[in-house]
């Protein structure tokens, strides 16, 4: 990240000098900082409200219901890890929290599952560990609260109209990720 930031800034002023927009670049730096604060402030309310709603859904037992729904599926996806009850429950909690968009809550469960799964690995990722990582890098949340807040902060009156597109896209990317994991686990190991 440090390299990227420095690269962006350096490239920007050199490019600005060459194109004769040095003044615009200087103004953009301070405007950008001010805009970051405005952006966060205007997102704050909506994001806090949504987090509250999601937390309430969790407290009302929706998470438990989702877990029951997904446990059989996860047992198939992780046959080895699924044999251990505690790993399976950490996996389920990880997936459920991800679905609700509670990233903060999802990570500790995912880490616990990864730790338990790595006991027999000796430093190299097993197929199932790779699968867990793919499941977590391909976002599977049902309600993207941050994006919705960002859109309403920008004055959009229907920030949720992109939901169907988000669901289709998430489903496609998770499916391709899992297929790629499966295919690579069969063929790609020697190459990587």
């Amino acid at each position: 990240m440090s390299v990227i930031w420095t690269g962006l800034v350096t490239f920007a002023w050199i490019c600005g000098l060459l194109t004769g927009r040095a003044e615009a670049v200087a103004a953009a730096a301070l405007d950008g900082a001010a805009e970051a604060v405005t952006l966060c402030l205007s997102m704050l309310g909506a994001l806090m409200l949504w987090n509250g709603v999601m937390e309430l859904l969790r407290a009302a037992g929706l998470a438990a219901g989702l877990s029951r729904m997904f446990q059989p599926l996860l047992r198939r996806l992780f046959p080895e890890a699924g044999r251990d009850a505690e790993t399976l429950s950490a996996l389920t909690a990880n997936v459920t929290a991800n679905l609700l968009g509670l990233g903060n809550a999802a990570t500790p469960f995912g880490i616990r599952a990864a730790e338990r799964m790595s006991r027999t690995c000796h430093g190299a990722a097993s197929d199932e560990l790779c699968r867990l990582v793919v499941l977590n890098t391909a976002s599977i949340q049902l309600f993207p609260a941050t994006v919705a807040s960002l859109r309403s902060a920008a004055g959009c009156r229907t920030p949720l109209d992109i939901l169907p597109a988000v669901w289709v896209t998430s489903a496609a990317s998770v499916a391709v990720g899992l297929c790629a994991e499966y295919l690579l686990s069969r063929t790609g190991d020697r190459a990587l």
Partner: protein, 170 residues
């Protein structure tokens, strides 16, 4: 659509009462968590948005988009989103800053604005996630995890552009 939100709020509240959850306390506890999320991304945004804005103002962004345009055109992805594609797997707040900038420049209901929002909502910060999980599990050889995760990201970008074109014809 205008009724959806109030309806959702009241049904969530009723559902909570029915299941004997502490409705009010849960809402405020979740809101507190949301506050912490924003507090955590604010310093990153204050650092990153100036860099992104400078990059755009200098004309470098147009250069990059023009350079990536032939490939992105084949995939049906708007070339304006090129910076987002590069930042997304590396930095979550960087991606948020880029989407905010794209929405400000192109409009929140423009094709570019919508595509960027769908991309942000349906992908994750791949390299960060890989680092967190494998770091915690003590894994040094990541094997095929990163190629598979990146395949999912690319699919997400292409399908985001595709679904926005299908669901929001102009």
């Amino acid at each position: 659509m205008n009724l959806l939100l109030p309806l959702l709020l009241s049904s969530v509240g009723l559902c909570g009462l029915w299941r004997r959850a502490d409705v009010y306390a849960s809402l405020t506890r979740g809101a507190e968590d949301g506050f912490r999320v924003v507090l955590r991304i604010l310093p990153a945004l204050v650092t990153l948005l100036p860099a992104v804005a400078m990059f755009r103002a200098s004309g470098a962004m147009e250069l990059l988009s023009a350079w990536c345009a032939p490939l992105l055109d084949v995939l049906g992805i708007p070339p304006e989103t090129a910076p987002l594609l590069l930042v997304r797997p590396i930095s979550g707040s960087g991606a948020l800053a880029t989407v905010g900038e794209l929405i400000r420049v192109h409009g929140v209901n423009s094709r570019v604005g919508r595509t960027a929002a769908v991309m942000l909502g349906s992908t994750e910060t791949t390299f960060y996630t890989v680092a967190v999980y494998f770091g915690a599990a003590g894994i040094r050889r990541t094997r095929h995890a990163i190629p598979a995760a990146l395949a999912a990201d690319v699919t997400g970008f292409v399908v985001a552009a595709l679904t926005v074109r299908l669901f929001f014809p102009e």
